[in-house]
């Protein structure tokens, strides 16, 4: 027997969406009334429905980024009523449901706004700055072998748990979008801590933090002012304690790299 479902009263809302044809043109908000909205619809489904209407009109459909729609890929990226990923806690935009809104609401939908995340079209932003940061140091060179080798290097439970908390980062960029200064510190802190906590991440630990922070700075992100807007919107609830850890790692790496001797035959090969 199907359990009785809660009230499914359909309602109407107005979507106020940022429309911008391309990176070089100025954008503006445009209102789209949406009727017969089911509270069980996801927010992205509502955008789909609005787009269905737009495809048969002279106007272009709203461009928005989405992929897995189950909160694990980090592709969806809207700012809903000023909050990246909308009203929920610990969820991505794709996990926002229309029951979070009231009938008659005007829902303002904007792209993530940061110099380092230029707008491509409407709600879609270019977030490859994160890829550049990852390429600068978000990797290990230790050979981890095949599956049976996974236990060859022992990892303490405490370190594994903490590293897993950091590794939960899906790189969506909501931390940047929420930060008053468009800083990428929570993202970088998560990536640096994730590998820095594991024994396999130790060989490159200092180089990693120095290179990733340098790449972050070059990409045009702002600076952290410890207001913790980032962790408040993180769909994976990553804590800003990792930012303190990143600061500590960075200063330590600065001093260690300065004191380290360099081989005079470096680069000569064996």
């Amino acid at each position: 027997m199907v359990a009785s479902t809660p009230s499914k009263k359909l309602f109407s809302v107005t979507l106020r969406v940022w429309r911008q044809a391309n990176p070089d043109q100025p954008g503006k908000f445009v209102d789209y009334p949406a009727h017969n909205v089911s509270p069980d619809m996801s927010f992205l489904e509502l955008l789909d429905v609005v787009n269905d209407g737009l495809t048969v009109s002279p106007e272009e459909p709203i461009a928005f980024a989405h992929d897995c729609r189950e909160g694990i890929c980090g592709t969806c990226s809207c700012t809903i009523n000023g909050k990246p990923h909308g009203p929920g806690k610990g969820v991505a935009t794709c996990q926002v449901y229309m029951r979070s809104f009231q009938a008659g609401d005007v829902i303002v939908v904007e792209p993530f706004r940061a110099t380092a995340f230029p707008i491509i079209k409407d709600l879609v932003t270019e977030r490859s700055a994160f890829d550049k940061i990852q390429q600068a140091g978000g990797f290990i060179s230790a050979r981890t072998g095949a599956a049976p080798d996974a236990n060859a290097i022992l990892v303490s439970k405490a370190a594994a748990d903490l590293a897993m908390d950091a590794a939960a980062c899906i790189g969506c960029g909501a931390c940047v979008a929420a930060c008053k200064n468009a800083s990428a510190m929570l993202f970088v802190a998560a990536k640096v801590s994730h590998l820095g906590l594991m024994p396999q991440g130790q060989p490159e630990r200092d180089r990693r933090v120095l290179a990733m922070v340098q790449t972050m700075d070059e990409a045009g992100f702002g600076n952290c002012t410890n207001q913790y807007e980032c962790s408040a919107v993180c769909p994976k609830n990553i804590t800003h304690d990792f930012i303190a850890r990143l600061n500590r790692d960075y200063v330590g790496a600065l001093f260690r790299s300065e004191l380290q001797s360099v081989s005079t035959s470096a680069g000569g090969g064996a």
């Binding site: 992100f221 600076n223 913790y228 960075y250 600065l254």
Partner: protein, 232 residues
């Protein structure tokens, strides 16, 4: 890259400079308040204390230059950080939304600027005594007969001007507010904060800032109210 270059050029380095200079200045204002509270003791106490500081000679100037360097770095780096931060988001959101950033944390530049303006005035007024050269005279005799500057009278006369007293109260109020974010923030920047003792740290900051504000305000209020009187 060398350490100094990285400190002045990287985002985390600049934040560390803000935190370290902030920590020094936090220590200074705390010590300065404790010294000033001697106004509530007999006049020879604060005058002897002032004489002790001035007789440090070159040592005093070293400390003063160090503090000045901290102020200059704190302000200079703050200007750089603020400019970078506004460049990182040139277009604001249509809907402004704040999740949990405290008001104190969002007005750091503004509270800091008022405090800086007061600092300049305060140094000209009480340290260089440009308006009242007579405050530089050694007119107070300590118990051993040494003639020293009369700091007590300077403070009483200084704070008997209601405009100056008001500016002072405003500045220490805004400085307390500045510290409400700064004290907790510097621990995070230096990398020593975590969830386990955040609450304790925030509690300390709240108690400290209220204490700092009330004790500082007590001085001009006691003078204006006539509880602390000129001794001559």
């Amino acid at each position: 890259m060398n350490i100094l270059g990285s400190l002045f050029n990287s985002s985390i380095g600049k934040k560390v400079l803000m935190a370290l200079t902030g920590l020094v200045l936090f220590g200074f204002v705390t010590g300065h308040l404790l010294g000033n509270l001697q106004i509530f003791l007999p006049p020879q106490k604060i005058n002897a204390y002032g004489h002790m500081l001035e007789s440090l000679g070159a040592g005093l100037w070293l400390v003063r230059l160090f503090l000045l360097a901290c102020v200059v770095i704190h302000v200079w780096v703050a200007i750089q950080l603020t400019r970078e931060n506004s460049a990182a988001r040139p277009v604001n959101y249509g809907v402004a939304h704040t999740n949990r950033a405290s008001l104190a944390s969002r007005v750091m530049a503004r509270t800091g600027l008022v405090v800086l303006a007061f600092l300049v005035y305060h140094l000209l007024d009480f340290t260089f005594r440009v308006q009242h050269p007579e405050w530089s005279q050694h007119s107070f005799a300590l118990a051993d007969g040494t003639l020293v500057r009369d700091v007590h009278t300077m403070m009483v006369q200084g704070f008997s001007r209601p405009g100056v007293a008001f500016f002072y109260i405003l500045a220490v109020g805004l400085l307390s507010y500045h510290l409400a974010h700064g004290v907790v923030s510097l621990v995070q920047t230096l990398g020593f904060k975590n969830e386990r003792w955040t609450r304790g740290l925030e509690c300390f900051a709240r108690v400290y800032c209220w204490g700092y504000f009330l004790l500082n305000t007590a001085i001009p209020l006691a003078i204006l109210g006539g509880w602390v009187k000129a001794h001559v």
